[in-house]
Each structure stands twice: as structure tokens, then as C-alpha cells.
Amino acid sequence: MINEKTAPALNIKDLCVAYQQEGEWWEAVHEVSLQIQPGEIYGLVGESGSGKTTLALAVLRYLGKNGMIRQGKIELSGVDLVQLQPAEMRKLWGHQMALIPQNPQSSLNPAMRVGDQIAEVYRHTQDMETGEARHKAVEMLREVNIPDPGRVTLSYPHQLSGGMQQRVLIAMALSSNPSLLILDEPTTNLDVTTQATILDLLRSLIEQRQTAALYITHNLAVVAQMCRRAGVLYAGRLVEEAFINELFARPLHPYTQGLLESMPRLGDHKDSVRLRAIEGRAPVFGDIPSGCVFRPRCPIANEICETNPPLSVLPEGRKVRCHRWEVSLNEAGRSHLPDGRSDRNTTEKHQLQPLLSLEGVSVHYPLKRSLREVVRREPKRAVRAVEGMDLKILSGQTLGLVGESGSGKSTLARATLGVVDKTAGTIELLGIQLPDKLSRRTLDTLRKVQSVFQNPEEALNPYLTVGEILQRPMMTLLGWSRQEAIGRVPDLLRAVRLPAMYAERLPTQLSGGEKQRVAIARASAAKPNLLICDEPVSALDVSVQASILNLLEDLQAEHGNSLLFISHDMAVVGFLADTIAVIYLGELVEIAETGDLFKSPYHPYTEALLSAIPGTKVESRRVAAPLVGEIPSPIEKPGGCPFHSRCPRLVGEICKRQPPPWQSQQGSSKRYLCHIPWEELQAQQGDIQGFEISRG
């Protein structure tokens, strides 16, 4: 199918791209060479800031004013793009190359109908009549599986969901029938379920058209699923390149190994696996180390690494840029813990006290009624973000909460914290009912429940030093004097594995992972009984994510606090949680101890979530259809089973009319909300497992 002998569609040679910053030029991409054959999807992975987008934009010759191609060649079908004039590039853009960007929302003109935005391509680059162009636009939309494309052409971007917007962009990119397609994290901002369908679509479209594609992502699993070959980019250098299977089975570069090992896989659990984080952080402008750029973080570096490593070309199309790749091959492997490493699991669950219990908690955000609604006396409407939630967190335990975006995870956390008012239900902490309003909670209650937020960039006041930030909770919640609090700061920093001198730093001088560590230190400073973590790692790179997950685990082992851990990433939740609750549209649909959750039967929604994870395989008797459509609006929730509108295992009318019962069985901690009984569902479903992609 793909012939290595034919001329590559894209041939990049020794490309160096530099940016000007504060008057100085520095290279964000350094001596990168790669080829992509027609019909091939080439994956480019790397952490944030490694230069992936820069490379893509360089290929498109769309670097900003402060960017420039220092040296190298970019040959597209034999033509060196580096030599072309801007006007000539503009012609190529319309015909030979196209970009599918990361943020579909901002990549569409908000003030123009979607159909016009597509038709425009035909009108201006292919000289079509307006009517014909419109017609072609509808056709294109149909091709990317948009239901009712005629209506969608008349919509404005903001009226479409993220997945639909991304389809529109795909349609737009393909409308000029390019020979090179560049995909820059096209699914990163989408839900797993949407991501799965988009990935399928992309794969089949590229295959059909025999387009060469450069697929950029930081998600190794996606690469594994999509690409034939992949390159790993680190600090602008291509450190390794191989066919996918090889890369995952036998990573050669210590960095690639680190990446793979820092990523929890479906089914990994903290009790049995210790994640290996890559120490330190990626170099940025101003302090790129000499010699091997990975040297400061490399576990096997020695003196030789102070010189530039050569690119070793190995058989089977492998390339690696490392002095010691042969050594690294032997030292790999994650630490598997001896069984029963932690004794907290030996304690029987029923002996544990419930720390926090939610009963029938609902949170509705009232909607403002429009004038017309008031006049017509229509009932007040509300976003029913959380509805009738019953949950318990036992002391010393971790409860994981998963669900698609908009399912009410954050709302639940915020209601517990007291920053939003619940509409109904009770929240009890150690048997004492908590008041709704934060201002009415006692300092002691505040002390007992602390939280870590999703976005580390926003978590810390940029104008206070780390030391100042860490002192405060001790002063306010524990009533310590400033002196006492200052004295404890180094301990706190040490606990989150940061050097004591960081107390002097301002948040802008920290990396994202370091910020999140400080946020964790702050939250645990006053020794809370419950730490609520709302997606604490989703903004972080995998290598950093691992260290945060390890940290949370260590802290818990040390303090014995409970954890409410929210994530949309099943693997991450599965790694950390003792119990997992799956919520959909504000309602609990399934809850089980972690070990039990990954065994069938699954609630169809859980099943869909699991099977949508890239790099999973489903050993199913009947392959579950991917989820259709988007999560419905929590304003007008479907009656009956909340999931019936998207359920791939719909039974019939009963699902639409009758709220489903809880299903459970002796011997399993699992409960799920469905009309399909246990045995029947188990018969339909197989077990779902992560790809065995790296345990070689």
C-alpha cells in the first residue's frame, strides 16, 4: 500500500526554525529531517513546547513575523517550499496542503455561516459559481458524516458542538484535495467519545484519498492508534523515529522510554504499579543545555552526553539520537510493586468510617428567563448539573469520579466545597451536616476540606511568592503566627519534592507541574481530611502527570487523608482511585471498587467511555457501536434513562419511559443503573483492555 521506494510526498531535511525573543534568535526546531510517503500518517509526539506546532507551521510557511527558517529544505512533491515567495505559497495552500488545527471553535470565523466558509474555498481557489460551490460544500459536509448537512451549512460556528466544528474544519481542509494534510492535535480538546469518532473518520478519509499526513499530538495512545511511523520530538530535536509497533515495543531513547513509563495504562493501579516520572523539566528558551539536550533529565547520562549525540540509523527504519541507546535498552522497565505494598487496603472497607457522605444532592443553576418566557408564564428553567447524587467517601480512601465534559463532575466538587449552593440533599462531613455557604462554614470545616484545581496556571496568585502562598493556610486555618508558618514552609516544599529555595520564587518562575505541586502543598498545608482534586493533571504533560499522581499517592499514604479525584481519563482515575463513580448528565450511572469496575458488565455508558479510549481493544461478542451524538443539554434532560438518547444497547421503549433500576450482584462491589440485567449485559459485553503496546 505504501511504497517506501517512491518519492516521499514530504521531505524535510535538516530543518532549523528560529524565533526571535527579546531581541535574540533561538532555535525552536533544530536539524529535523523526516519523510512522509503518500498515504502515510506520520505521527509526531512530544511534550508541550517541544516544537511540534512550530514544525507544522514551518512546513506551511506560516511562521509569525518573529519566526524564520534558519536552514534546511522542505520538499513537497519535489518543490522546495523554503525557496517560494509568499504569493506562491498562497497558491499551494489552496491546493496542495491543508491544516486541521487544534481549536476548532477559534479556527472558524465566528461571523460567517459554516457553509459559506467551505464554499469560499471552491469559489476562490477553484473558480466555481456560488451555487455550485454551495452544493459542493453540502457534499463535503456529508462526506465527513455530518447529519443534515443542508441545515449545518446555514449555521454559525458557535451553534455547533466541538466535534461538529472539527468535522467542518476537516471538510474544509479536504475540500481542496491536498496532497499533504497537517493535523495539529485535532482531537485534544474533545471528549474521549467524540475523539474516537473523529479519529475513525480521519483515518478512513486519509486512507481513501492517499494523502500524506503529519499527525501531531502529545498523546502516545493516539499515535499508536493512528500512525504507521512516528517521531519523538524533544526540545526541537527529533530524538527517535520508528515504526509504531517497534517504538512502543522497544523504545530506544531514554526520553521515549520515560514517556511510556510515566503513562498509567488502563488497569494499572497504585497498589501494584509505581509510575516512573521523568525528573526535571524540558528546557526552554534561554537555557538549552549543550551536548545532548536530554542530558539533565536522563537517568543514564554520563560525560559522553556532554557532546552532541549523533543520529544513529538502525535497521528497520529506526533512528535514534542518543550516545547510549544500547545501554538504555537494558535499563528500562517500570517498577512493579510487591503485592500488598500498602496496608491500608488490608483494612476492611466496612470498618472504615464514612468521612463525607452526600445524599440526594442536586445542584441546579437557574436560568434567567427571557422576557417572552416571563410574559408567557413559562416555568423557570435550570441547568440541572447534578441530580440526586448519593456518594460516600471513606476515610483514607480515594473516590474517583469520571464522566464526559459537562456531566457535572466539577459542580459536584464545588457544591461539596461550598462555592456553589446545592438545590437539594445533604452533605455531611464526619456526620455533621455542612452549611451551603462558604461564609457560614467554620474554619475547622474549611480546614478539613481543601482542594486542588485543574488549571495550575490559575491556581497560584502570580504576585505572591511561593513562600507567602504556603504560609497563608497555616495562618488562617491553623491560627499560627507568621513565624511559625514560615518555619514550616520548607517542610511543605520538601513534601511535594521541591527544593526549599523555591519559597522565594514567584509562580511565573515555575513550570506547570511545579505550580501544581505548590497548589497541592498549599491544599495539604493545614492537614485536611479530604482533598478534592478536580482534574489536577489534565493540563499537564504525561511526564509531569506521573509525578503529580505519585505525589498525591505519597501524601495520602503519609497523612491518611481521603481523596475525591476527578478526571475524564479512565486510566488515571483507575490508577489512583479505590472506588470509581461514573456519572452521566449529573446522575450516577455506575459505581464500583476499582478492581471491579474493569470487569464486565459495564453500564453501556461506561462501556462506551472505555472503548473510546485510544489504544484499547474490546474483546467483545458484539462490538459496541460508538456513541452517537453529543451529550444532551442538562436543561432538557431526556426522560426515562438519562442515557437512552445515545445508548448503543438500547432495549426499547422502556428505556425512554422508565427510570432504570440499580443492578448489582453478590461478590462484586459494582452497581449500575440500567434496564439490562447483570447476566444479560455480561453476555453481551467482553472485557476491555489496554493495548499491550509497551510491555515488551
Binding site: 506560516y62 489552496g94 479556527s107 470565523n109 474555498v121
Partner: protein, 322 residues
């Protein structure tokens, strides 16, 4: 969209009502005996008393306010204390003059300013941009009275001295003069006002263009292979000019009655000059009428801006109200 418009209208009414309270109270605080001012320095006590009775100044303030509001909204704007003539026709005539000046100013300044702003934005950092930026920033620094005086020196006196056709230094116009007749009188004040607005609008347009050029959808449009001018006209401008619309509307409000200095320099019979006259003479009803007309005009301009903005911005048009 309808719901949106109605809600905006509601806000407008609320603002106007609140402002009317402010105006009423502020004018009540003005020192000086209204009747003494009406009757002049030569009137006696008895006449003064009669006058106070006449004007209902004896009633408690809230009553006076409600009475005033009722009369005012009923179209009965009463008589000016100082000139003893009906306020309504007087204010309307001045409003018309102000509108003329405002419209002419906008006709000159908006295309010019938007053009310059777009030009500067598209050529960021280049010579044109720097010239426009520095030029507009310098114009910003010229107070209206300085510009006005200089323009008069130049276009009225100097030209006249050289025997060339010149523009009038004094812009007072006959009450019944038509637009064409009053045009020569309007030019200098309009230029002066234009100079104030020009820089403001141009800079705003420029930053709007720059802001939009950074957006990803522009990259999308470029990478579609569209010709540059199509990208500019169809993609960048419609979005970049949105904030400009609001500012133009606010400027319109300012033009209607904020031109006190310009009207003073050129002696143009607009609302601003009338208000200064009213304040000088403690002519409360006139003052209140002018201030309120101003506020209504200003609020209306804002309303129109909001609606136009919403109309051009599908994000508002299609999310509110349905």
C-alpha cells in the same frame, strides 16, 4: 433578537429614569434663587414671592420631581425661566443643529478613521502604521479649543487676508436655515470634532484589526488559499470593526451635546451651548430638558449600537432570546 432588543430597551428606560433623578437633584442643588434670576436684579420681594408660588417651588422636592417627570414625559416641557419661551421648540431646534453637526462629523471622520485604522493595522510596524499612529496620537493631544482657534486663524482670517474664499469663524446659523445653507458654518466645527474622534476611532480600529489578525480563523482562511484581500474584507474586517461600532455610537452621543467647548469656540447654536447658557442663568427647566434630551440621545445611540452590534454578531443574534 426581539427579546434582546426588549431587554436593551428596558435597560435604556431604567438608565434614563435614574439619570433624570440625578439631573433633577443636581439642578436642585444649584445655588441661587431661581426667581431672582428670572426677574432680574431689579425685582421686588412681592414679585419674587408670586413667582415662587407660580413655579411650584414651594412643594416638597419629590413632589416637584414627579410633577416635572410627568409633565416632561407628557411633552409639556414648560417655559424657560430665563427667556420665558417654550422649551420644547427651542430644545428641538438646537437638537436639530446638534444632529447636523454630529452627522457631518461622523460622515467625515468615520470613513477616514476606519480607513486609516485598517491601513495601520494591516501594516503593523511598518512606516505607514508608524506615521498613522504618531499622527493620531499627536492629534489626540490637541485640545478642541486650541484646534478650533488655530483653524479659525487659518481658514477664516488668513484665507480672507489673502483674498481667498474663507470659511466663517462664527458658526451661528439662522434658525430656519437648511442643511446646505448652514454647511459652510458647519465645516470648521466638524473638522475640529473630527480631529478629536479621528485618532480615537482609528486607534481602536487598528487594535481591532490587530486583535483579529491574531485569531486562528484568519490562519484558517489564509491556509484555505484565499486571496489576501478576501481574507481582509470577508474575514478580518467584519469581526474587527465590531468594537468600532460601539465607539461610533458613543461618539455620537458625545457629539450631540458634549461639544460644549467647540460650540463655545465657534458660537455654534447646539445643545451644548444651550446648556451652558441655562447653567449660567440657573434656568432649571431648560437645564433639565437639555440634560435629559442629551441622556436620551446618548442612551438611544447606545441602544442602536447594541442592536447593530448584535445584528452583525451572530453569537449574540442567535443565542439570546431563542
Amino acid at each position: 433578537m426581539l427579546g434582546y432588543s426588549l431587554r436593551r430597551l428596558g435597560f435604556l428606560l431604567l438608565t434614563v429614569l435614574l439619570t433624570s433623578v440625578i439631573i433633577f437633584s443636581v439642578t436642585q442643588w444649584l445655588p441661587g434663587d431661581v426667581c431672582r434670576i428670572i426677574l432680574g436684579r431689579e425685582a421686588g420681594e412681592k414679585a419674587l414671592d408670586a413667582c415662587r408660588q407660580d413655579l411650584g417651588l414651594e412643594a416638597p422636592l419629590p413632589v416637584q420631581y414627579l410633577r416635572w417627570l410627568a409633565d416632561f414625559s407628557g411633552g409639556d416641557w414648560g417655559q424657560s425661566f430665563s427667556t420665558r419661551t417654550d422649551i420644547f421648540p427651542l430644545v428641538m431646534q438646537r437638537l436639530l443643529n446638534s444632529l447636523r453637526l454630529a452627522v457631518l462629523t461622523l460622515l467625515i471622520s468615520v470613513p477616514l478613521a476606519v480607513g486609516l485604522g485598517v491601513l495601520a493595522g494591516l501594516n503593523e510596524g511598518k512606516l505607514v502604521d508608524n506615521l498613522i499612529s504618531i499622527g493620531s496620537l499627536s492629534v489626540v493631544g490637541l485640545p478642541e479649543f486650541v484646534t478650533g482657534i488655530l483653524l479659525i486663524q487659518l481658514f477664516s482670517f488668513e484665507l480672507r487676508r489673502w483674498g481667498l474664499p474663507s470659511l466663517p469663524a462664527n458658526s451661528s446659523i439662522r434658525p430656519e436655515a437648511g442643511f446646505v445653507e448652514s454647511l459652510p458654518s458647519l465645516i470648521l466645527p466638524a473638522i475640529t470634532a473630527t480631529l478629536v474622534l479621528l485618532a480615537y476611532i482609528a486607534r481602536l480600529t487598528r487594535s481591532g484589526v490587530l486583535e483579529e489578525m491574531k485569531q486562528s480563523y484568519v490562519r484558517t482562511a489564509d491556509l484555505k488559499g484565499l486571496p489576501r484581500h478576501i481574507v481582509v474584507v470577508r474575514h478580518i474586517l467584519p469581526n474587527a470593526l465590531l468594537p468600532t461600532i460601539t465607539v461610533i455610537a458613543i461618539s455620537f452621543g458625545w457629539l450631540i451635546s458634549g461639544l460644549v467647548v467647540i460650540e463655545n469656540v465657534f458660537n455654534y447654536p447646539g445643545l451644548g451651548r444651550l446648556l451652558v447658557f441655562a447653567i449660567d442663568r440657573r434656568d432649571l427647566p431648560l437645564m433639565q430638558a437639555v440634560a435629559l434630551v442629551t441622556v436620551v440621545g446618548f442612551a438611544l445611540a447606545n441602544l442602536v449600537a447594541d442592536l447593530v452590534y448584535a445584528l452583525l454578531n451572530p453569537r449574540i443574534r442567535y443565542t439570546e432570546g431563542n
